[in-house]
């Protein structure tokens, strides 16, 4: 059997470099570089509105947005989702269910009954439907606005 030792050695080198790369992929994956982890977690806040989300998400995999809104004495809180978000995602579930949803060319307005003071939590489960950069704007009507940018991986 003829042996090509040069090729053999190069092959081993490439293999070992590949192993290192694989280990890095797993470690970064664990840390959340590809979503679901510390590196991807973000929190954005504006007057009366806080949002916890993942900066990197995956196509067709359910993700969640966690909002905290200041309760209003009027007995109702509302949250605006812009059309960019609505068009590029499929909203699976909103917890709690909104009392009313108003639709307009600018997006959707969700309204929820609220009582007392402090903040109320709203969880929105969605599935990204388009690859690339998902730019969205969430807002309290007539109040704070939170622009976020989420990277959707294949």
């Amino acid at each position: 059997m003829a042996e090509n030792t040069v090729f053999m050695r190069r092959n081993w080198q490439v293999q070992r470099a590949g192993w290192l790369l694989m280990v890095l992929v797993v470690l970064f994956g664990l840390a959340g570089l590809f979503g679901q982890g510390r590196l991807a977690r973000r929190e954005a806040a504006a007057q009366g509105l806080t949002l916890r989300y993942q900066r990197v998400v995956r196509l067709e995999a359910t993700q969640s947005l966690e909002f905290a809104l200041d309760a209003r004495p009027s007995g109702e809180v509302a949250l605006d989702l812009d059309s960019g978000f609505v068009k590029r995602t499929e909203i699976e579930r909103i917890i709690p269910e909104p009392r009313e949803i108003f639709i307009s060319p600018e997006g959707q307005r969700l309204s929820f009954p609220s009582a007392g003071s402090g903040s109320v939590a709203i969880r929105l489960l969605f599935v990204p439907k388009k690859l690339g950069r998902l730019r969205a704007r969430f807002a309290i009507p007539g109040g704070a606005e939170l622009p976020v940018s989420i990277l959707v991986l294949p």
Binding site: M22, V26, G29, G35, G37, T62, L153
Partner: protein
């Protein structure tokens, strides 16, 4: 659970389960063993990806499994004791023409399995043509022909 943690848990759970099941689980696969393996993979895939049908999720799971396998092979190379614990050792089922029935029973191997290995690898047909039979770590049976087998 995280996309890296899920494959990790499944890998070690399967490692333990198949190790307990023994060598025969993967060595000489019957058609039904093969069906069982397919069902196992089907059951595992749901837990492995947990609804994440993205390409990134799948690649991350595969990379994690391969890294675990690679790491374990390197560790086994360095620590022979661990290799023995994880992979078992070769077991003589027949030595100098004598069947070791106690071992055969423990390993769930019968004479027909030994004869089958003898036929397929050496073209031997009778027990007296076999000197030794060894159940290897990966579940296959190796045959060492007896001296008189050459002329058979």
């Amino acid at each position: 659970m995280h996309a890296v943690v899920r494959p990790f848990v499944i890998y070690f759970a399967l490692l333990v389960l198949f190790r307990i099941t023994g060598k025969r689980a993967l060595g000489d696969l019957t058609s039904f063993d093969f069906v069982v393996l397919l069902i196992v993979s089907e059951c595992v895939s749901a837990g492995l990806l947990a609804g994440d049908s993205s390409l990134t999720g799948a690649l991350l799971a595969v990379t994690t499994l391969l890294v675990l396998d690679l790491a374990l092979s390197l560790i086994k190379q360095r620590f022979r004791g661990l290799a023995r614990a994880l992979e078992d050792e070769p077991v003589h089922l027949m030595r100098r023409g004598k069947l070791l029935r106690d071992r055969m029973q423990k390993e769930r191997v019968d004479e027909e399995d030994i004869l089958e290995a003898a036929r397929s690898h050496h073209g031997l047909e009778r027990m007296d043509q076999i000197d030794s039979a060894v159940l290897e770590r990966h579940g296959t049976i190796s045959i060492i022909p007896a001296d008189n087998a050459a002329g058979a």
